[in-house]
């Protein structure tokens, strides 16, 4: 694959063959060497073949081999002439991250980490073989969740108005059509509202061990030594089934629209087509389920803190900093070749990162830029960033979403063979509670790239700025 270095941390894949635009990759020279060994750069080129794509097929520094789209890919298509691709959103529709702050200092929690980890593990179901946090939801109730998102949580006592203000899209994506979700998808989601899931999903209790910008940190209510909670989860079986349903529908409809793409997983139809509109309605509904899911888990986490530490809500001061989604397609206005255009931005493993002053940001956060939450691995650290103006010019207001895997799950399991990872992590100061030993092995710290390198690339490219680093000390895995 030909790669041209445009400047430090930015590379171009020239337009060849069926590509409609060039590819652009944000990465260090070291990262590029690793990417060349993985099919992910070919996937960036494949995405560049989507009808209606504008600007560039973009790759963030945490890019890795996905299915169809690379994980860490961003593609904006013209809202009128472009296509929508369920693979460009992914199976876990609105997989995302939320960060809650507390009034607690690490010194207060340190002697009670085990009790806290036990309480969180007991309160937050993984979602397999047991009911979720809210048992017995009927299909009608699930449709309400899919229509209202985090607002449903507010109506049912699991959220505050402030929580919704600090959630991307207010926790409810416009255009949701719950009737476009299949019965099977509702059945798969029925027991899973308020559940974490397995794989790379987690709840992480951390302390802030580094502040990079004290002004921004102050404005976000973050300070050194403070205890925070990071939750990574998505739309669970409801979203997975929805993606599957529409991949099939759209895969079968493509030929009618004369669309031919290099990978079946890239299946796409015109946004304006009946199939495209149906998917967008279903995707928004699944995204809403995900926001409600993370909101309910945050509520459960607050309960666990209060019980385990025997403190009052005011002492705890549990408050949402922000909630971001990193698997989604959204209609946004961006400048393309000097002209503002309405585009549909597919972010597959990439986070929206709007710069300061963007009208989509809540008033309290608007002067700062959008908080971008980037989880690392459970042994090292995660980051809080904010979006910068350059992101609006270069990346359709997008940044990275995580560390990116270095090892396959299989290799990680091999490396973990015979080791007591839970004890190793304990020695590093991280208490882990997990439903599956294999899950810990697959998610071991060295299976991931160092997320610090990822966020440094984004900062050097002036896409996002670091605000604070979070050091995990208690991790709940599904």
């Amino acid at each position: 694959m030909d790669l041209i270095k445009l400047r430090d941390y930015l590379w171009e894949i020239p337009k060849t063959g069926a590509m409609r635009v060039p590819g652009r990759v944000y990465a260090s020279a070291k990262m590029i060497a690793g990417m060349r060994e993985d099919p992910c750069l070919t996937q960036v080129a494949n995405v560049a073949c989507l009808p209606g794509i504008v600007g560039y097929s973009l790759a963030m520094p945490d890019i890795h081999w996905g299915y169809g789209f690379p994980i860490g890919g961003v593609a904006a298509v013209d809202a009128r002439e472009g296509v929508i691709s369920p693979g460009g959103v992914g199976y876990d529709i609105n997989c995302g991250v939320r960060l809650a702050r507390t009034n607690l200092h690490f010194n207060f929690v340190e002697p009670r980490i085990d009790q806290l980890a036990d309480a969180l593990f007991a309160k937050i179901p993984a979602g397999v073989g047991s009911w979720g946090a809210i048992p017995g939801l009927s299909i009608e109730q699930l449709k309400q969740v899919a229509g209202e998102g985090a607002k449903w949580a507010l109506r049912n006592g699991y959220a505050t108005e402030r929580d919704l203000e600090h959630t991307e899209e207010g926790g409810m994506l416009a255009g949701a059509d719950p009737d476009r979700i299949s019965e099977r998808a509702y059945q798969r989601g029925a027991k899973q509202l308020g559940t974490l899931g397995s794989g790379n999903h987690f709840l992480e209790v951390s302390r802030i061990d580094e502040i990079y910008d004290s002004k921004l940190a102050d404005a976000l209510g973050l300070e050194l030594g403070q205890v925070t909670v990071l939750i990574h989860s998505g739309s669970r079986g409801l979203g997975h089934q929805t993606c599957d349903d529409y991949l099939k529908l759209i895969g079968g409809a493509m030929a009618r629209y004369g669309i031919n793409l290099p990978d079946r997983q890239l299946a796409a139809v015109p946004i304006s087509s009946p199939e495209g509109q149906a998917y967008l309605g279903a995707m928004a509904a699944a995204a809403n389920f995900a926001w409600c899911n993370r909101q309910v888990m945050m509520h459960l986490a607050e309960q666990a803190f209060l019980e385990a530490l025997s403190i009052a809500p005011r002492e705890l001061g549990f408050e949402l900093v922000y909630d971001v989604c990193h698997n989604i397609a959204k209609f946004e206005e961006h400048s393309v070749n000097g002209r503002m255009r309405l585009v549909c931005v597919h972010r597959k493993g990439a986070t929206r990162a709007f710069g300061p002053g963007h009208p989509a940001l809540p008033e309290a956060l608007r002067p700062l830029g959008q908080p971008v939450l980037v989880p690392g691995d459970m042994g090292r650290y995660s980051f809080v960033l904010v979006g910068l103006e350059t992101a609006m010019r270069e990346t359709f207001g997008s940044s990275c979403h995580g560390a990116g895997r270095l090892m396959s799950r299989m290799k990680a399991k091999r490396e973990a063979d015979g080791r007591d990872l839970q004890a190793e992590l304990k020695a590093l100061g991280v208490t882990v509670r997990a439903h599956s030993r294999a899950g810990i092995a697959e998610e071991m710290p060295h299976a991931y790239k160092d997320v610090a390198e990822v966020v440094e690339v984004m900062e050097a490219a002036r896409i996002t700025r670091r605000v604070a680093r979070l050091k995990p000390f208690a991790v709940i895995k599904g």
Binding site: G90, G127, G129, D244, R409, A438
Partner: protein, 149 residues
Amino acid sequence: MPTKPTAPQTEDAALFREFEHTGDLGIELDAPTRGELFRRAAIAIASLLVEMAGVAEIEQREIVVEAEADLDLMHDLLTELLALFTVEGFIWRDASVKEAGRSLRVTLRGEPFDPARHTFRGEIKAVTYHQLMVENSPGGWRSRVIFDV
């Protein structure tokens, strides 16, 4: 891509091999016949979800899938089985397959999943179409499937 046989968890030795995929989980299957290929796929997905050692063959479930192409049949069968586990909470240890034209009638033998007795291995979100392959070669039937996990 390096592959290794997965430790046999049923009476059949090495029913499938896992292969390296950075983010997800890929398997390769070989079988002497088409029906056996689908049977092995059905057992493979069960053993990726739950440790087979603790699963007893007490009850039966039957599913029918139909599709024009074998590729879609493989995808749809595994997706139906994923739903059988996640929606109905049924886990199986063995399967038998009856082929009839473009449809498959699959009988699963197992029991209701019980988190107290069974060891859950990890969630599978979906059966992807990415590099999905089913082919009949002179050496027998082969398939490759990547799961989103």
